[in-house]
C-alpha cells in the first residue's frame, strides 16, 4: 500500500502545497505583526506566490527535459498538461497583482488583516487544482475551495453593508449553483461508474443519443457552470458582487476565479461531455447570444464603474463561450488567449479603480473618475489602453482574443453568430468610452489625487506592459496557447 503514491505525485502539487503553506504562514506571522507593519503580510504572500511560480517553472522545465508533455498524479486525479500550466500562470500572475494592489486599499479600509492574503493564497491553490483536476471529486472540492475563499474576500469589509450584501448574494447563489453542479456530477458518476473525466468520456460515448439521464446531467451541469462563469440567465449575482466586493477582490475574482471557472467549464464540456456535443451545442449558442446581449446592453446604463465592468465581464463570458461553440482548435486557442489577455487588461482596469479609492471616497462611480487626465495622466492613459483592450481594439491585447474567437466562428460556419458578436464590440466600445470621456473631457470634481501606492504603480506597469506587448508581439503567447489546445484536444 505504501507504493500507492510516489513522491512524483506530490512534486506535481508543489506549487499548490507551497501556496497553502504560505497561506498558513501568513496567518501565523500576522499574529506577530504590529498594526503599522501589516504590509509585511503582503510581502509574505508575495514570496509565497514567487515560490509557487518557481516551483511551477521547475516542473515545467523538467517536463520539457523529459519530453513528457503530461504529468499525471494521484492516479489521474490531477493532470498537469499545458492546459493547466497555462491557466496556472494566469492564476499566479493575477494573484500576485491582486496582492500588491490590496495593500494600500486595505490600509485605507482599516481591514488589513493577514487573513486576507492567506485566503487569496488558498483561493489560488483552489484555482490551480481546478485547472489541473481530472476527477469529479477533485474538481468539486477545488471549486468549493476557490469559491468559498472568494465569498469571504467579498465580504471582507464587514463594516460595509454593500460588501456584506454582496457576499451574501454571492454565497447564496454560489452555493445554490454548487448544488446544481454537484447534482449533475452525481448523475455523471451514476452514468459511468467513475469519477475520472476521461473514463466518463469513454462511457458517455457509448450511450445512445438522447439518453434522458445524460440530458439531465448536461442540463444540470450546464446550469451550475453557467452560474459559476456568470452566463445569462444565471448572471444576476455578478454585477452586484462586483459592485459590493472590495475593489481588489473584484479585480481578483474577475480574473483568476473567472479563468478557473472557465477552465472547469472547458474541461467538463470538452472531456466528459464531449461525446454529447450535439445535445449542448444549441443550449450553448442560445446562452452565449443572450449573455452577450444582456451584458452589453445592461452595461450601457450603469453609473457605477465596477458594475459596468461587471456587465462587461458578462459579455466577455459570452464571447468566451463562442469559442466553445465553435469548439475547434482556433476557438479553444481563442479562449485561452482571451483569458490570458483578459487577466492583464481587467486587472489593469481594476487597478486604476483601486487607485481611485481614497480617504472618504469609494471611487467606484464613473463620475469619480472625472478629470483623471488632469490629476494622474498616467492612470488615465493606461485606463484608456485597458478599456480599448477590453473592447478589443488593436493593437491592444484584447483584440487578439476576439480575433481567434471570430475566426473560429467563421471556420465552423457560424456566420450569424459571428456578425452578432462583432456588432456587440461596437456596443461595448460605447460604454467603455463613457468612462474615457469622463476621464478626459470633464473637469475634476475634487482635488484628491488617486492613491498611487508603489504596489499600484507596479501593477499598472506590469498589466499595461503586458496588454501592449501581447497586443503588439503576440507570437510567443499564441505558441503557448497552441500547446494548451493540444492538451485539451487530445
Amino acid at each position: 500500500m505504501n507504493e500507492y503514491f510516489t513522491p512524483g505525485d506530490f512534486l506535481v502539487l508543489k506549487p499548490v502545497i507551497l501556496l497553502v503553506l504560505f497561506g498558513m504562514g501568513v496567518m501565523l506571522t500576522d499574529l506577530l505583526l504590529e498594526k503599522h507593519n501589516k504590509y509585511f503580510n503582503a510581502v509574505t504572500a508575495l514570496v509565497g506566490v514567487g515560490f509557487a511560480s518557481v516551483a511551477m517553472w521547475m516542473i515545467q522545465s523538467q517536463m520539457n527535459r523529459d519530453g513528457a508533455g503530461v504529468y499525471e498524479a494521484f492516479r489521474g486525479a490531477i493532470v498537469l498538461d499545458s492546459f493547466s500550466i497555462f491557466f496556472t500562470w494566469i492564476f499566479l500572475i493575477s494573484t500576485a497583482i491582486t496582492i500588491i494592489i490590496s495593500i494600500r486599499y486595505l490600509e485605507i479600509e482599516e481591514e488589513n488583516h493577514g487573513e486576507h492574503y492567506a485566503i487569496i493564497l488558498f483561493a489560488t491553490a483552489g484555482m490551480i487544482l481546478l485547472a489541473t483536476g481530472m476527477d469529479l471529486i477533485t474538481l468539486f472540492v477545488s471549486l468549493e475551495l476557490m469559491v468559498i475563499s472568494i465569498y469571504i474576500l467579498t465580504g471582507f469589509l464587514k463594516r460595509d453593508r454593500r460588501s456584506n450584501e454582496a457576499a451574501l448574494k454571492y454565497l447564496l447563489l454560489g452555493a445554490f449553483s454548487s448544488g446544481i453542479l454537484a447534482y449533475g456530477m452525481s448523475l455523471l458518476y451514476g452514468i459511468s461508474n467513475s469519477t475520472n473525466l476521461v473514463e466518463i468520456q469513454s462511457k458517455l460515448a457509448q450511450r445512445p443519443a438522447g439518453d434522458p439521464l445524460v440530458m439531465m446531467a448536461v442540463v444540470t451541469l450546464a446550469a451550475g457552470l453557467f452560474f459559476k462563469i456568470g452566463a445569462v440567465p444565471f448572471h444576476q449575482w455578478l454585477p452586484d458582487v462586483y459592485e459590493g466586493a472590495p475593489h481588489p477582490t473584484t479585480a481578483f475574482m474577475s480574473v483568476g476565479p473567472k479563468a478557473a471557472a472557465f477552465a472547469l467549464f472547458l474541461r467538463i464540456f470538452m472531456v466528459p461531455l464531449g461525446p454529447v456535443r450535439d445535445q449542448w451545442l444549441p443550449l450553448l449558442i442560445g446562452v452565449s447570444i443572450a449573455t452577450m446581449t444582456l451584458g452589453n446592453l445592461a452595461a450601457i446604463s450603469q453609473s457605477n464603474i465596477k458594475r459596468l465592468l461587471g456587465y462587461s465581464a458578462i459579455s466577455h463570458v459570452g464571447y468566451l463561450m463562442l469559442g466553445l461553440v465553435s469548439g475547434n482548435d482556433t476557438g479553444l486557442k481563442g479562449i485561452s488567449i482571451y483569458l490570458l489577455v483578459y487577466a492583464f487588461m481587467n486587472l489593469g482596469a481594476f487597478t486604476v479603480i483601486v487607485a481611485m479609492r481614497r480617504r472618504d471616497l469609494i471611487g467606484d462611480e464613473i463620475d469619480d473618475m472625472a478629470g483623471l487626465m488632469y490629476k494622474s495622466p498616467t492612470a488615465a492613459v493606461l485606463m484608456v489602453i485597458f478599456l480599448l483592450s477590453l473592447a478589443g481594439i488593436p493593437p491592444t491585447a484584447g483584440f487578439l482574443g476576439k480575433y481567434f474567437i471570430f475566426l473560429s466562428l467563421l471556420e465552423t460556419g457560424h456566420y450569424t453568430l459571428a456578425v452578432i458578436a462583432v456588432l456587440y464590440v461596437a456596443v461595448a466600445l460605447y460604454y467603455y468610452f463613457r468612462i474615457v470621456s469622463v476621464m478626459f473631457m470633464r473637469e475634476p470634481i475634487d482635488k484628491e489625487l488617486p492613491s498611487m501606492s508603489p504596489g499600484i504603480r507596479v501593477a499598472l506597469g506590469v498589466t499595461a506592459a503586458m496588454t501592449l506587448i501581447i497586443g503588439i508581439y503576440p507570437n510567443p503567447f499564441i505558441e503557448f496557447a497552441n500547446r494548451t489546445v493540444l492538451a485539451v484536444m487530445r
Binding site: 468549493e144 454593500r162 456584506n164 450584501e165 445554490f176 452525481s186 459592485e243
Partner: protein, 102 residues
Amino acid sequence: MPEVTTAHYIFLSTALFTIGTIGVLTRRNVVIILMSIELILNAVNINLVAFSKQLLSINGQAFAVFIIVDAAAEAAVGLGIIIALFRNKETINADEIDLMKW
C-alpha cells in the same frame, strides 16, 4: 409492493432537488434559503449513495462525504456572513438586501 430500484431513489432525489430549488427561489428569509440549499445537497447525496449501491462502488459514498464537507463549510461561512450583515442591517430578508439591485 414493487421492488425498490435505484430509479426510485433517483425519483426521490429529483423531488427533493425540486423542493430545494423552489425554496431557494421563493423564500425571502436568507436562512431558509440556505436550508433549501442543504436540501439540494442532500438530494445529491441520495443520488450518490443510490448509485454507489447500484454500481457496487464505494466512490459514490466517498463523494457524498465531500459534499457533506462542502455543505458544512458553506453553512459556516454563510452564517458568518449573515451575522455580519445582520449587525449592519438588522434584516435577513433577501429582498431587503437592496443596496444594490439584484
